[in-house]
Structures are given as C-alpha cells and as structure tokens.
C-alpha cells in the first residue's frame, strides 16, 4: 500500500512490522534544542563500542598473571590494528564513565528523576555502579605495574566502606592479597558477569523510558521534534562525531602500557588512582586518623556512602523537584572537582 512495499527493504519491513514501530516512535517527542538530551544516547553508543572492541580483545587476551601483560603487548605490537582496537577500548572506557556521570548530573540538575520516573532513575544508578565496576575490573586486566597498584589500592579503598567493607575487599581481591585469583575474578566480572548485568539494567532503563518518556514542562523545551526520524538522525550524527573523536584519540594519543606487574617490587612513585576515583582517594588519603573513635577514613567514606544513599533516594526525598536539588548538585560537582584536584597535588 505504501511505496515501501516495492523496495527491497519493504520485504523485511513487512515481516518486522516496521510501520507499526515507526508510528509508535513518531509519537515520542524530543526537545528540539537540547544538547543534554543527546547524552544518554551517546553513553549507550559508547557502551556499544566498548562491547565490540572488548569482544575483539578477548580473542587474544590471556587472563593469567604469567601471560596477561605479554598477551596485551602482543595485541598492541604484533596484531594488525591491535594498537588501534586496544586504544579505542581504553579511551572509550574513560569517555563512557565520563558520559555516565555527566548524564546522571544533568538528570539531577533538571530533576528528571521525579515520578513516574523513579525506576528509570534507580536503574540508571545501577548502570552507573556497574559501569564503574567495569572500568575498575578492566583496568586490572593488563596486569601492568599500574594495574597491580590499582587492584591493591582500589580494593583497599573498598575495604573502608561501612558494614560490608571488609567483605567487599576480600571479594574484590579474591582473597586477602592481590594474587592470580584477583586477576581471574576481575576477568570473569569484566567479561561476563558485569556486562550481563549491565545489559539487563540498560534494557530495563530504556524500556521504562520508552513507556514513560520524560516530558518537560519548561518553556524552553516546549518545542519538540518527533523521535523518529528527526531526532534519531541528529543523534546518529552526534554519534558519528563521537566515533571521530575516539578514532582521533586512539590514533594520535598514546597510552603507554608500562612494565609488567612485579609483586616483589615496591609501588612505583607517582602511581595514582583512575580519575573517577580521585575524590575518594583524596578523602581516604587525607582523612584524620580518628574521628569519633572510628578510623578517620572509614568515617568519612561512611559519610560519603550515606550521601550516596540520599542521592539514590532523591525521587522520594524531593518529590516536587525543587531548585535546591539543582544547587546542591552544582555544589557537589564543585566539591568533587576540588577533591580531585587536591588528590593530584
């Protein structure tokens, strides 16, 4: 009935019921001018790149301490375009975590977490936690000096969490110390466990958002465009831009691997946590030894956890979406940035 039937794609479209999907998607609206609205899609796209480059790396990576570093060096040095794929995976991991955080930040500032989107918010938070978990476990896998330090320090930090800190530390390490068990655990989580969880959580997140799209009441965003085809075309363009950025970084910005991990050697000078851990690192490093009878670092991390619980409960605490939340979000960003800068000094 439509010109589609005559085109070759029409055959597939009829079997999939494309017309119905298109009609449904067209009823959704997206703001015409909102840079922020693209963030979610970009984050999802970055996840897709991570999965693809990760699958390619897994073909040649060997997850035991004797061969891990060697296999990564072989991927970079001897396989055609291996250095490209490794660099893409490394850079987009940083971008992925950054976009996750930025996406979450914009949601808080715009108070899009309010009812009926509480479950979207919670699933998004879960995605954030799993995403950071992926970044953490992934950084251990090359088993370089930095990776080994990262595993030790990171699990040490985890030990400062209240109540389940000790358990978490042993759980992350696969024992009391960082050993080949740690690498095996990190590999299993990074390659299988966490991606599976993340897929589920992201599916739930998208499903909920499609069922109950976020409708803005701000004047600035009254003007909307249909999700399909207009917004999707623009989103596609943005994603091609992101791909260009990653390609450029991968080709021109070296990420040196560093020497293989040697547990018998002391920690190298200048070893630091990944950038997203800097604020926590600052807190733990400069915490006073004791606060109210408890280990200072534990106390402060406990406070941070408490704040995190409050953040998770935002939809229930701030039902009306007051401006205070937005101000608090900006203040928090400032504080975290200052802590991060302090950690670097």
């Amino acid at each position: 009935m439509s010109p589609q039937d005559e085109r070759p794609a029409g055959w597939l479209a009829d079997r999939v019921g494309w017309a119905g999907i298109v009609a449904r998607l067209s009823t959704h609206r997206a703001p015409r001018r909102s840079f922020v609205f693209y963030l979610g899609g970009i984050t999802l796209f970055l996840l897709f790149i991570q999965v693809l480059s990760g699958i390619l790396l897994v073909l040649y990576y060997r997850p035991d301490p004797a061969h891990a570093h060697e296999s990564v060096e072989q991927i970079i040095g001897e396989l055609p375009y291996g250095n490209l794929i490794h660099a893409v995976h490394a850079w987009s991991s940083d971008l992925f975590v950054a976009c996750l955080l930025a996406h979450m930040f914009t949601v808080v500032v715009r108070r899009s977490f309010r009812a009926p989107h509480e479950l979207s918010w919670l699933s998004g938070l879960a995605a954030l936690v799993i995403g950071i978990g992926l970044a953490f476990t992934g950084a251990i896998l090359p088993w370089t000096e930095a990776a080994y330090t990262h595993a030790r320090v990171g699990s040490q930090l985890a030990g400062k969490f209240p109540f389940f800190g000790e358990w978490l530390r042993r759980f992350l390490r696969g024992g009391d110390e960082v050993t080949l068990g740690t690498l095996g655990h990190a590999y299993g989580f990074h390659v299988a466990g966490l991606p599976a969880c993340l897929t589920l959580v992201v599916a739930v997140h998208l499903f909920l958002l499609l069922r109950k799209p976020v409708i803005r009441t701000d004047a600035a965003e009254q003007e909307t465009i249909p999700l399909y085809p207009e917004f999707i075309v623009r989103q596609a363009a943005a994603q091609v831009g992101v791909l260009v950025v990653i390609m450029t970084l991968a080709i021109f910005a070296q990420r040196n691997l560093g020497p293989a991990a040697d547990p018998t050697q002391p920690t190298p000078v200048g070893a630091g946590p990944p950038w997203y851990m800097l604020p926590v690192h600052a807190i733990v490093r400069d915490a006073p030894t004791e606060l109210l009878g408890i280990d200072g670092a534990r106390f402060l991390v406990g406070i941070a956890c408490f704040i995190a619980v409050l953040v998770a409960a935002l939809p229930f605490l701030d039902r009306k979406g007051s401006r205070v939340t937005a101000w608090l979000a900006w203040t928090a960003l400032l504080a975290l940035s200052l802590l991060a800068v302090h950690a670097l000094s």
Binding site: L52, L56, S71, Q74, L79, Y81
Partner: protein, 148 residues
C-alpha cells in the same frame, strides 16, 4: 512520515536517503576493515611453543639456526636423528654462535669459545654451557619451547 504530492520532491528524497545509506555503508566498511584484519589469525603464533619447520628441513648429523620468539636458537640433529635445541647466544658476551661441521662442535666467532654438541663449554672464555630449550616433534613439525 507525511507523503508529499510534489513529484519534484520524490527523487530528491530518495537521493538523500541513498546518500545517507551509501556513506553509512562506506564508513561501516572503513570500520570493518581493521576489525577483519585483527580477527584474522596471525601467521606467527603469539608465544608458547613455536613451530620452526618440518623434520625433513633439519639435516641429520647437522645443525640449523632458527628464530624462536625473535631470539637465535641452534637446532642440532644427531647422527641418530635425535634433535636438541640450544640458545645460540654465547654465555660469554652474547655473540651469536655457529655450528662447525668439520670440527663437529659449536664455536663462537668473537673470542673462540667452543661448545661440544651437547652444549657444554669446553674451551675458551664461556663460563657456562649453552641454555638448552625443549624441542619435540609433533606430526612431522619441529616445535621449540623455552625450558620449564
């Protein structure tokens, strides 16, 4: 998607759609190419035991120099056909040693170090025998791996 009655617009829409599809396909190819090259199994094995040739390529009662993980290795084949593999780096100052057929020994050209055919240092400055590697034959292929 509203249909337009203007016949003039129909060909243009199609062209742009084709343009988008075409450039997307081209770009996809540019992405798929390095992925395909990467996934293709490499010609050299990446570590572990290395195949250095077929058994026939190693002359009986002779020796052949091969590269194992980018290091020189001397494969000796005795009169009885048995293979032995030694690192070809002299234990004195790491010159590359060579097999001498006339004198039936391994010699270092730098300071006249001499090793017997079982790698023992028998003359000259070398302080230790040559490092021996593990060599085996599997279905006609000679495989060398580092001693464990």
């Amino acid at each position: 998607m509203a249909e337009s009655d203007d016949p003039k617009k129909v060909p243009r829409r199609d062209i742009l759609g084709i343009a988008v599809g075409g450039s997307a396909a081209a770009f996809a190819l540019a992405v798929v190419y390095p992925v395909a090259r990467f996934v293709e199994p490499p010609t050299r094995p990446l570590g572990g035991p290395v195949v250095v040739g077929k058994l026939e390529e190693f002359p009986v009662d002779g020796a052949k120099m091969v590269s194992v993980n980018d290091r020189p290795v001397l494969i000796l084949r005795g009169a009885d056909g048995e293979l032995r593999a030694f690192s070809a780096l002299c234990t004195h100052l790491q010159c590359v040693v060579a097999y001498s057929a006339e004198r039936r020994q391994i010699e270092c050209p730098c300071h006249r170090g001499v090793y017997s055919l079982d790698g023992r240092n028998i003359d000259g400055p070398p302080p230790r025998p040559l490092d021996e590697l593990v060599v085996s034959v599997n279905e006609g292929s000679v495989i060398v791996s580092s001693a464990s």
